[in-house]
Symmetry: C2
DNA sequence: TTGTCGGCCGATCGCCGACAA
DNA sequence: TTGTCGGCGATCGGCCGACAA
């Protein structure tokens, strides 16, 4: 699982988890460990994201060494300091309603989505996005209405139904360097969508 | 789980199962056992029926004793020799098609279903049936068309969808002494339906 | 007797701009 | 800027008899 997508999804809830280590009295309350590796995972059914970390007990005097010489990396070697542009929105009743579309905030459409050709009438394009499992979803992105606004129409309700999204759930749009995805979610956990960069050859109406 | 319903469902496939006991060489190939009890079970998801039997090793000379003095019973005390009228049908493409109904073979409608009042035009009634889990399903049973035939219409497609039935699956109709049920099935395993006896007060149009 | 088909009608889906918060 | 609504047209579900195997 892509580490940037994982962070975009987990960002809003990584402080909610409580881990119970069983309170075994023989183990000291605190152990200095080196984080040996991190793997980013997503539940197959709920799309809930979580991480698997391998911890190696360290001696106290090793701390400074690792701090200075070892950058924290995931098992794919990606540097965790990169933060690709992303945008999160909590689904409204209208977004989640059956038969409705998705109101795309203007900022999200202009900074995350592929560039739209506004010379068409109405301006519209097909947007491809992959979810945390690598599954590709197709949406119609249209700019219409008075006043004008960005919407996802065709493909959206199928997405909502299959991901069992309801009002209050979140969706995260993420834009990476090379074409991407969207991830839906279960139950008040964020859904992430990564979109291809503007020059993507995917979009039916996208130019430049 | 009712033992008669179980037998109606399992009847077509109880010779298909293969049990691997691991071929442990220390256990004799054959052991004379007394069947201590039988419990009839159904998988919650697939409706596949199976049985749990408690076997007690016996000495050879006990065989005749049990044969003569102990009737085989399930854990509810029901005698296994009773066989209530039942009817099985393999679903056709038309039965399983979305938007279609279920063609009820005449023999099944006349011997298993509650008696229909043929004086109405068209003759129709509501039929209630419980599945292996005790869930009640409601069907509209109508006698129409030229030539006349028995059909299940309203309620049928919902049943097919929720039970994920496809052409080739089986359904078993079973009639017991005191009101009953239907059981759907997964994947080429029989679905059973028990129906209330003719005088059932459930049916909208049923008389006598 | 009953499996499949086309017709047909009503319900739902889903796209639309209007409007207001 | 964007959430909600009523409208309305297209699609689909589902009931029907015709017909033939």
């Amino acid at each position: 699982l892509d580490s940037k997508l994982w962070h975009a999804c987990a960002g809003g809830m990584h402080s909610q988890g409580i881990v119970d280590f069983g309170r075994r009295p023989r183990i000291p309350s605190y152990l200095l460990c080196r984080v040996f590796s991190i793997d980013y995972m997503a539940d197959e059914e709920t799309d809930e994201v979580f991480a698997r970390m391998k911890l190696v007990p360290s001696r106290a005097d090793e701390l400074d060494y690792y701090r200075e010489n070892v950058g924290l990396q995931d098992s794919n070697g990606s540097d965790l300091s990169e933060k690709p542009p992303s945008f999160a929105k909590t689904l409204t009743q209208s977004d989640a309603n059956n038969g409705g579309g998705f109101s795309v905030p203007r900022y999200c459409a202009e900074t995350i989505f592929p560039r739209l050709d506004y010379s068409a009438d109405p301006p519209a394009q097909t947007v491809l996005a992959k979810d945390v499992h690598g599954e590709v979803w197709k949406f119609r992105h249209i700019y219409r209405g008075t006043p004008r606004r960005h919407l996802l129409t065709t493909g959206w309700s199928s997405f909502v139904n299959q991901k069992k999204l309801v009002a209050g759930d979140s969706i995260v749009f993420l834009r990476t360097e090379r074409g991407e995805l969207c991830t839906p979610s279960g139950w008040n956990t964020p859904s992430a969508i990564c979109l291809p960069p503007p020059p993507g050859g995917f979009s039916l109406f996208s130019r430049e």
